[in-house]
């Protein structure tokens, strides 16, 4: 049978692990915590540190002296412009995703049943599972001048609409695939599932009896929607908006592939640390989206978004 208390090494270790809970816990948690502490937290600290450093003018090497130069430079019009433009795009994308996604979420939560519900759920999740770059590539082809979107607009005799949109100063451009309008469309496409799923979860939590009671008390469907459904779905909208907002703020690939030369936060960070070799400035500038997201998260928390996740 099993050995006595003075058994083999493995048996003694095993006994120690079982009888001393703390030991087991430590043994389990030390490797992942060590990894995350060193690799991830260490990286973030290094990012913070680098944001205070600067570049030597002659050698182009990083000078490890603390200064606020980077932050002073961020507060200049060029970079404030970039931050503002990115935040505006993030807000516009969030609104568009909410408008397009809400009906889908509502239908999925209130009207779909059984196999139809499962199919819809998979249909919304499926694009998320496909590669981000493939989906972006699909849109690059779609938005090209001889591509499918232009073809469809021509078939519907709506080319004048396209030309009018492309001629508009801020959002237009040479073609759909080289304009902020195109960037906007692709952003909405990419993050739409992230918005639909939390809203659907929130609406599902609304008891059907509440809606029936509302109509029993004489409310029209529009009133029920405005007074009951919308406020209760708001945490879901807030949760989805966290995704759309934060993902748009940090993205540098979509504006580069489907945009004109106007810069977004992610692009500035990427270029500064790459081609320009100015890692400290890139580090400082990357604190901007963190700050914007932190503010947004605080606002979202007040709206109850975290109850919906």
């Amino acid at each position: 049978m099993s050995a006595t208390a003075a058994g083999t090494l493995s048996e003694r270790t095993s006994t120690a692990l079982i009888t001393r809970r703390g030991l087991l816990l430590t043994a389990l948690l030390v490797p992942p915590l060590l990894w995350f502490g060193v690799v991830y937290v260490g990286s973030l600290l290094s990012l913070l540190a680098n944001s205070f450093f600067g570049l030597d003018d002659f050698t182009g090497q990083v000078v490890r002296e603390m200064s606020l130069n980077n932050f002073r430079e961020i507060l200049t019009p060029t970079y404030l412009d970039v931050a503002f433009r990115t935040t505006l795009m993030a807000a516009a994308v969030t609104i568009a995703c909410t408008v397009i996604g809400f009906p889908v979420a509502y239908y999925m939560a209130r009207h779909a049943r059984g196999p139809q519900k499962a199919i819809l759920y998979i249909a919304v999740m499926l694009p998320l599972w496909s590669s981000y770059l493939v989906r972006l590539y699909a849109w690059k082809l779609l938005l090209a001048k001889e591509g499918a979107v232009v073809w469809m607009l021509k078939a519907l005799h709506l080319e004048w609409l396209l030309e009018a949109l492309l001629a508009t100063p801020v959002i237009g451009g040479n073609s759909l695939s080289f304009s902020p309008l195109g960037t906007f469309i692709v952003f909405v496409y990419m993050w739409l599932p992230f918005m639909i799923l939390p809203i659907q979860a929130a609406i599902e939590r609304i008891p059907g009896a509440m809606l029936e009671a509302s109509s029993d008390l004489g409310a029209s469907p529009a009133q029920t929607f405005g007074n009951i459904v919308l406020p209760l779905a708001m945490p879901g909208i807030a949760a989805g908006s966290i995704f759309t907002f934060s993902l748009t703020l940090g993205d540098y690939i979509i504006p580069q592939v489907i945009g004109n030369s106007s810069q977004y936060i992610g692009q500035v960070v990427y270029r500064q640390q790459g081609v320009a070799g100015n890692l400290p400035f890139a580090a400082a500038f990357s604190l901007v989206p963190i700050l914007v997201i932190a503010i947004y998260l605080w606002l979202a928390k007040r709206k109850g978004a975290f109850d919906a996740i």
Partner: protein
């Protein structure tokens, strides 16, 4: 007045149905078109409708050396990163699944952070750390970045499964004389097995597809997403890119569906 005794769905207005259908189509038509374009005989490839259909581009793509190198590198990175993530994620799950101690929530948050923060921030944080420590960018820097955000994927699956496993199974095993290691190997691991496999598959798909953090942590290496990104900016042979795109769709779709199927019973018992 008819009473609704059964939980049948109320009828939806036709506008709602139309809006839903449009939304779903919006999500899927671009992908369907890419698959169509992979068969297009037109060289410029984005011409719609495609003038003809052919499978010649598949043969051309198979002969491209750079495509194979990119696929190989991506697969290697994904395998190593997944292995590390499985080990770390399972350990973390074991520590956090059923315990309560001070700082537990903070550790959960720490594990989620790499995915929660924008990729740019994680990417540049890692890059600045490697730069400061003067570590050259290589295969291993890519792996370190990928492993870090793959951990949470394995962790989620492992925790969901651990919460379903009854602790009395482990106690019974030890009552019958097994020590901790034997219990782990013969009782716990088989129960965890499919959840770890599912987590590993998801981690593999995540790593295979990752581009944002990879562009910050790679040196001269070209993973498949980086190859794809280069093609997006400076296209060489669009039809080949289409074929590779279809290949990527298949390759990332399969692990995720498999992972979903492996853990579908865990979803039902996951109480919030």
């Amino acid at each position: 007045m008819p009473s609704k005794m059964t939980a049948s769905a109320p009828a939806a207005s036709p506008w709602l149905k139309l809006a839903t259908l449009s939304g779903v189509l919006f999500l899927h038509v671009p992908l369907a078109l890419i698959v169509l374009y992979a068969f297009s005989s037109e060289d410029k490839s984005y011409v719609f409708p495609p003038p003809g259909l052919t499978t010649e581009w598949f043969a051309v793509a198979l002969e491209r050396q750079d495509v194979w190198e990119a696929i190989t590198l991506s697969a290697q990175v994904a395998l190593v990163a997944t292995a590390i993530a499985i080990v770390l994620g399972t350990l973390a799950a074991g520590g956090l699944a059923r315990t309560k101690f001070f700082g537990r929530e903070a550790i959960s948050l720490l594990l989620i952070l790499p995915i929660a923060l924008p990729g740019v921030v994680s990417g540049i944080a890692l890059r600045s750390a490697f730069h400061t420590m003067e570590i050259p960018f290589s295969f291993w820097t890519i792996v370190i970045g990928h492993a870090t955000f793959c951990v949470v994927v394995v962790y989620n699956n492992a925790v969901a499964r651990l919460r379903r496993i009854s602790p009395s199974l482990l106690e019974a095993s030890m009552d019958l004389g097994a020590n901790a290691f034997q219990t782990f190997r013969y009782v716990l691991l088989p129960q965890l097995g499919s959840a770890l496999l599912a987590g590993g598959l998801l981690a593999f798909a995540l790593s295979f597809d990752e581009v944002i953090v990879t562009t910050f942590t790679a040196g001269q290496q070209t993973t498949l997403p980086i190859w794809m990104l280069q093609e997006l900016i400076r296209p060489r042979q669009r039809p080949v890119t289409n074929v590779v795109a279809v290949f990527i769709i298949a390759l990332t779709f399969v692990p995720i569906v498999a992972a979903y199927w492996l853990t579908r019973s865990d979803e039902d018992s996951h109480h919030r």
